[in-house]
Amino acid sequence: MDNLIQYAYVVAAALFIFGLKQLGSAATARRGNMISSSGMLLAIVAALLDQGILDYQMIVIGMVVGGAIGAYVARTVEMTAMPEMVAMFNGFGGMASLLVGMAAIAPGADAFTLTTIVLSILIGGMTFTGSLVAYGKLSERISSAAVMFAKQQMVNGLIVAGIVLSGVMFVNNPDATFWLFLVVVLSLAFGIMAVIPIGGADMPVVISLLNSYSGLAACAAGFAVDNNILIVAGSLVGASGIILTQIMCKAMNRSLSNVLFSGFGSGVQDTTEVEGEIKPISVEDAYYVLEAASSVAIVPGYGMAVAQAQHVVKELTELMEQNGAEVNFGIHPVAGRMPGHMNVLLAEADVPYDQLLEMDDINPRMETVDVAIVIGANDVVNPAARENEGSPIYGMPVINVDTARTVFVLKRSMASGFAGIENPLFYKENTRMLFGDAKESIGGLIREFS
C-alpha cells in the first residue's frame, strides 16, 4: 500500500509537469490546468490513504472548510481583483508550509531535518506576510506607494542577522522553543519589510516572486516531512516562478534587483543628474517589451533603406497588430536621402497609407506611445534640435521619440547620421540601443513573435 502511494505521487508529479507544460501555450492552457488539478486530486487521495493516518476528522474538517472558502472566493471575486486574490492564496500556501514545518518538529530529529524545518518556517512565514502586504497594496487596503524610512536598510540587516542567529540556535537546541518563536516572528516581520518598500505597480513581479517562494517553502517542508511529492511540486513551482519573475521583469525592461531594491535605495540616496549611458538591448529582451506594448510608433530613416528592411518592418507591424497593439509610422519629411524616400519603400512593402503619419501628427501623441522604434534614423529624431541651442540643427523640427515611454534605436553602431552630429537620444534614460543591421534585428524580433 505504502509503495502504491509513493507511485501515485510519481504519477501526480508527472501530471503537474504535464499540466505546467500545457499552461505555457494558449491553445492548451485550460486543459493544462485541469491536468494539473487532477494531479493534485491524485496526490491528496494518495495522502489520505496513508495507513499512518489514525484520525480523519480534523483532516476532513480542515479540507472542507478550506476548500469551501477557496471555492467561494474564487467564484465570487471580481475579474479585476484576480491578481490580489492570487497573492492572498499564495500567502495561505506559505502559512501552511510554516505550520507544517512547525508540526514536523519531533523529538530527536537530526540537524538536517531541523534545518529544513527552519527553512520551511522562514520561507513560509515571509511568503505569508509578504503576500498579505502585496494583497493589501493591490486591493488598495493599504497605500500602494513605496514605503520608505530612514535606517530601513539597517533594520533589515538586523532582522536577517536575527533570523540566522535564532535559526542556528534552534537547530542546536531543538527544545528551546524561544528560538523557534523568534524565527517565526522574524520571518513574518521580514516578509513585511521586504515588500513595503516596493511600489504598487511592481506588485505583479513581487507576487510572482512570492509564488516562487511558496514553492520553495513547500519544498523545504517536503524535506522536513520526507515527502517526495512536496519536493518535486515545490521545486517545480520554485524554479518556474523564478523564471516567470525574470520574464516579467524583462517585459518591464527592468532588472529583478532593480524592482526589489529600488525602493530601499531611494530612501537614502539623493538623486544627482548623471550623463546618461548607452544601454544596449538584446532582440529577445526587446521582444518582451514589444509583446507587452499596446501602442507602437515606428520611425524609419535612411538606415531602413540601406538595410532594405521595409518588408520585414511591414511584417513586424502586422505581428504587433495581431498582438493587439496599435502601430503607426512617423515619417519625417527629410528622412532618407531623397524626398519621399520612406514613402517609396513603405508603399513597396504595402504599408497602408493611413498608417503613415506626418511629423506634426505623430508628435502630439508620442507621449502616449509605449514603444517608439527608430529604424536606422538618426538626425530626424535628434532631440538636440529641440534642446541644444548650439547644435547645427537647432530649430529643425524632429520627431520627438524621446517622449515615448521606451525608445528602441535600431542601428549598427554609434556612428552619426548625414548631418554628422552626436545624438543625445542614444543616452537617454528610456532609450535602448538594438545594435545590428536593421533587417536582421527586425527579423529576429519577428522570429520571437511566434
Partner: protein
C-alpha cells in the same frame, strides 16, 4: 504552304503581326514566308531582319495577296483585299465579326476561310493564342501611363520638407484583363486604387493586387460561360452610375474598361459626374472607340470637359508597338503551330479541334460560326 504577311495600313498602327523571331520559327516549321517590304518599320524591324529569318520580301502587294495560301494579319482587311485572295485561302486577323457583317459576307462569297482572333475561346488551354487578352494586358499599362502624363500631379505619396503630396486616387471600372493590369500599374506607381466590376468573383482578384474593391449591390449579375460579363439591365446601370458618382468625383484618375464582348459598352460616367470632378483630373475611356463608357469621350482623341481631361485615343497596345507585336505574333504563331501538320507542312482546318472551330467565321463558302450566322441571317 505560302504564308503572306502584308503591311498594316491602318493609320497610327505601328504594331506588326509577325516579328522576325516568329518569322524564323515559321520558316523552321516549313512555311514559305512572304513579307511585304517595309512591313516591320512601325515597330523598328527592318526588311533585312526578315530576310535573315528566312522570309522573302515582296514589294507587290497585289501579288502577295493573290498568291498566298494563308495570310497572317492584325487588322481586318478591306473588301478589295478579300477580292484579291484565292478561294480556299486562310485569312487570320482581328475581324470584329459581330459588327462587320459585310466583311463576313465578302469572305463567305470569296470562299476564303476567315479566322477571327477575337473569337478564340477563353479556355485555359487557348490562352497562348488569346490576342484579346495579350493586347488588353498592355492596354492596361498604357492607359495608366497616359493618365500619368495628362495629370498635373504625381501618382505616389511623398512626405517631403516642402509638405506632403497625397497619393493620387485612381478608380478603375471593369477589372478584366486590362483593368487588372491598370490596377497593378497604378498601384505600383504608388496611387491609391479602387476598382469596381459587375462580376462578383473579381473582388478577390482586385484585392489580390492590393487594391480596394468598391462593393455595389446590383442584384443578380454574373458572367457568361465564356468568362465575359453579362449585360446589365437599365436599372442596374443606373444604380451603378449613382453608386460610383461620389468616388469618381473624388478621384484624380478614372479608367474605364467595361466592355461587353460583341455589344456596345454601357455608359457608366455621365457628364454631370464628370463636372463634379476636380479640374485637372483625367478619365481614360478604353472603350471610346466602340462607343465609350464615358459620356463626352471622343474616339481617337483627348478632349477636355469642364477642366477634366478625357482620353479616348484608343489602340492602346499600339502605343507600345514592340511588345505588342511580340505578343500578338506569339499568339498567331501558337495558333498556327497548334493546327500545323508536320508532314504536309500545312495549316489544317479541323472542325474537331477544341479551339479552332469557335474562331472560324467562314469556311468553304459558308458562315460556319453559329452565333455570327444567326446574327447576320437574322438581320439579312
Amino acid at each position: 504552304m505560302r504564308i503572306a504577311i502584308p503591311r498594316e495600313t491602318q493609320s497610327g498602327e505601328n504594331r506588326v503581326p509577325i516579328t522576325p523571331d516568329v518569322a524564323k520559327k515559321l520558316v523552321r516549321m516549313g512555311a514559305n514566308l512572304q513579307v511585304e517590304s517595309g512591313m516591320g518599320t512601325g515597330s523598328g524591324f527592318t526588311d533585312e531582319q526578315f530576310t535573315e529569318a528566312g522570309a522573302t520580301i515582296v514589294s507587290d502587294r497585289n501579288e502577295l495577296f493573290s498568291s498566298a495560301d494563308m495570310l497572317l494579319r492584325l487588322n481586318k482587311p478591306t473588301a478589295e483585299e478579300i477580292a484579291l485572295m484565292q478561294r480556299g485561302a486562310i485569312h487570320i486577323s482581328y475581324l470584329d465579326p459581330f459588327n462587320e457583317h459585310a466583311l463576313v459576307n465578302a469572305f463567305k462569297d470569296a470562299g476564303v476561310t476567315s479566322i477571327s482572333m477575337e473569337m478564340i475561346p477563353r479556355t485555359t488551354r487557348s490562352q497562348k493564342m488569346d490576342a484579346l487578352s495579350s493586347q488588353a494586358n498592355l492596354a492596361g499599362y498604357v492607359m495608366v501611363m497616359k493618365a500619368a502624363s495628362e495629370l498635373p500631379r504625381i501618382f505616389p505619396m511623398m512626405m517631403t520638407p516642402a509638405g506632403t503630396l497625397k497619393p493620387a486616387n485612381v478608380f478603375v471600372i471593369g477589372a478584366g484583363v486590362a483593368g487588372l493590369q491598370a490596377i497593378a500599374t497604378a498601384k505600383r506607381l504608388g496611387a491609391k486604387v479602387t476598382a469596381f466590376d459587375t462580376r462578383p468573383v473579381v473582388a478577390e482578384q482586385v484585392q489580390s493586387l492590393g487594391a480596394k474593391f468598391l462593393e455595389i449591390d446590383l442584384g443578380e449579375t454574373g458572367e457568361t460561360a465564356g468568362g465575359y460579363a453579362k449585360e446589365l439591365t437599365p436599372e442596374q446601370v443606373e444604380k451603378q452610375q449613382q453608386a460610383q458618382a461620389d468616388i469618381i468625383a473624388k478621384s484624380d484618375v478614372v479608367i474605364t474598361t467595361a466592355q461587353l464582348f460583341g455589344r456596345k459598352p454601357p455608359v457608366l460616367i455621365t457628364k454631370d459626374v464628370v463636372e463634379r470632378m476636380a479640374p485637372g483630373s483625367v478619365i481614360v475611356d478604353m472603350a471610346a472607340e466602340s462607343g465609350g463608357n464615358v459620356e463626352g469621350s471622343v474616339p481617337g482623341e483627348t478632349v477636355e470637359w469642364s477642366g477634366v481631361t478625357i482620353v479616348g485615343t484608343g489602340n492602346w497596345a499600339g502605343e507600345v508597338p514592340r511588345d505588342a507585336s511580340q505578343m500578338y505574333s506569339s499568339n498567331l504563331f501558337n495558333l498556327v503551330e497548334d493546327n500545323w501538320c508536320e508532314e504536309k507542312k500545312l495549316f489544317v482546318v479541323d472542325f474537331n479541334d477544341d479551339i479552332l472551330p469557335g474562331c472560324i467565321i467562314t469556311h468553304g463558302g459558308e458562315i460556319t460560326n453559329d452565333t455570327i450566322k444567326n446574327i447576320i441571317e437574322g438581320e439579312g
